[in-house]
């Protein structure tokens, strides 16, 4: 009996290890923008962790513990679906915060290599990012950095879940967010 259970376990173990093929390579995205407005004003727009209204495509944001470390926020997207993020670092003085995606809803389900794959609303995995506001004379430099993996963890990813899909989606959010922040701050 024990032997059979053990055999079953090792078979299962082998199966999972095949499913989690060698890890993909971590990707990064970094966007910067110079805004002709004081740093305090720019930080004032983005400083509340529960307010992402300055990022296009975000319908609403709620956070359970405001700007304290560990606070969990849920972003509801215009296109439908949610992204859940945990606040990892917050420094009001340095005008920066860092967060991590902990959960996402599925945008669609595709079939790839004979298996059903759930494509998350942002096609990434293990996503961590930070945003920083820095005074530069009269103007302000904002930088937004993210490190992440593609959504597909096995070899030979489908087009919807490969590195290109991840990089395109992340870059679009960072670029769009910063451009809109500039518009709002320079008003």
């Amino acid at each position: 009996m024990k032997k059979i259970a053990l055999l079953g376990m090792s078979a299962l173990f082998m199966f999972t290890s095949v499913a989690n093929a060698h890890g993909p390579v971590r990707q990064k995205a970094e966007e910067e923008i110079t805004i002709n407005a004081p740093a305090e004003k720019v930080w004032g727009i983005i400083k509340n962790y529960d307010d992402l209204s300055w990022v296009p495509g975000i319908k609403s944001t709620t956070a359970d513990k405001g700007n304290t470390k560990g606070s969990i926020r849920v972003l509801t997207l215009d296109a439908g679906g949610t992204i859940t993020e945990e606040l990892k670092k917050y420094d009001d003085k340095k005008m920066t915060y860092a967060y991590k995606i902990t959960d996402m809803s599925t945008a669609k389900t595709i079939t790839h290599s004979g298996a059903e794959e759930k494509v998350p609303v942002l096609p990434v995995d293990n996503y961590a990012a930070s945003i920083e506001v820095e005074a530069q004379g009269g103007s302000t430099l904002v930088s937004w950095k993210a490190g992440y993996y593609r959504a597909y963890m096995n070899n030979n990813p489908p087009a919807e879940m490969n590195e290109e899909a991840a990089n395109t989606a992340v870059t679009a959010i960072l670029k769009g967010g910063l451009a809109n922040l500039k518009t709002l701050a320079e008003k």
Binding site: S17, H22, G23, R26, K28, K88, K89
Partner: protein, 322 residues
Amino acid sequence: MSIKLVPIKLARTVAVVAALFASVLVAAPLAYVSNQLSDSVSIIDTGLGKVVATIAVPGKPAGVAVAPDGKRCYVSTPEGHGFAVIDTEKRALIARIKVSDGALGIAVSPDSRRIYVADWYENTVAVIDAQTLTVLQTIAVGQSPSGLIASPDNRWLYVANRLSNSVSKIDLDSGMVKQTAMVGAHPFGLTIDSRGERLYIANVQSDDVTVLDAKLMRTLATIKVGLLPYAAALALNDSRLLVTNQDDGSVSVIDAATLTTTGLITVGEKPEGISTHPDDRHVYVANWFDSTVSVLDAKTLRVINTIKTGEGSRAFGQFISK
């Protein structure tokens, strides 16, 4: 008075000349930094404090192990399913060896005769003959083996099994796992002291370092560090342990005598690989996000230089030549 001054001056001149001569004859140790996103390895001359050569290494280079004899540098290439061999004298890629699908962690034996490659996917460690570059043996370990290091006497090989939350102790004579110890959550990089008595393991998920008795494989202490610790290195006669905290952009400093955290050094973003210079005082840290290397002084706990490398510097392993 003036008679006494002359010999001192002379002695100084002799010393300066000797130092110059020595620097011509013996090059400063080199640091080999794998740049995963640009498929290259940057070679830093630690004497000059800058990159003196960049070698193209296909296959998303990640792990680095410099042979103690200084002749070769081995770089794991996860997407090349093996590792690359760099001739340190020619500063050229001379071979690409296939081992298995998930080659990541890599180490060299203290006698430079064996190369050890951990496979993240197959849950094995391959023992490779450094002369023939052929696999001699494959040893089953825990799940997703990551960092590995041999004992200074070349008797044992220690492997951090990331998904099993354990460290395996392999008997290099028999090629069998002798013992396995549970550590923190998701152990990744590890190091051993020069006497082979203590292991220090960075646990990525539990944000701490496990200190293990290398003989008995018993936990001596668990020390909290920053967010997502990646790897660790010892300096100053094993008295200080430096640990890279990926998500804090910092290096935690631990006093090895009291086993407590005594300092924190801000480095670049997403610091990963960490290695100690043969002078036993300077510690080099590869900053993945910034694509730079920070040079730390383990004595003053200051960053003394920041060197631009290639995209996505990882340098996971012992990456500085003796």
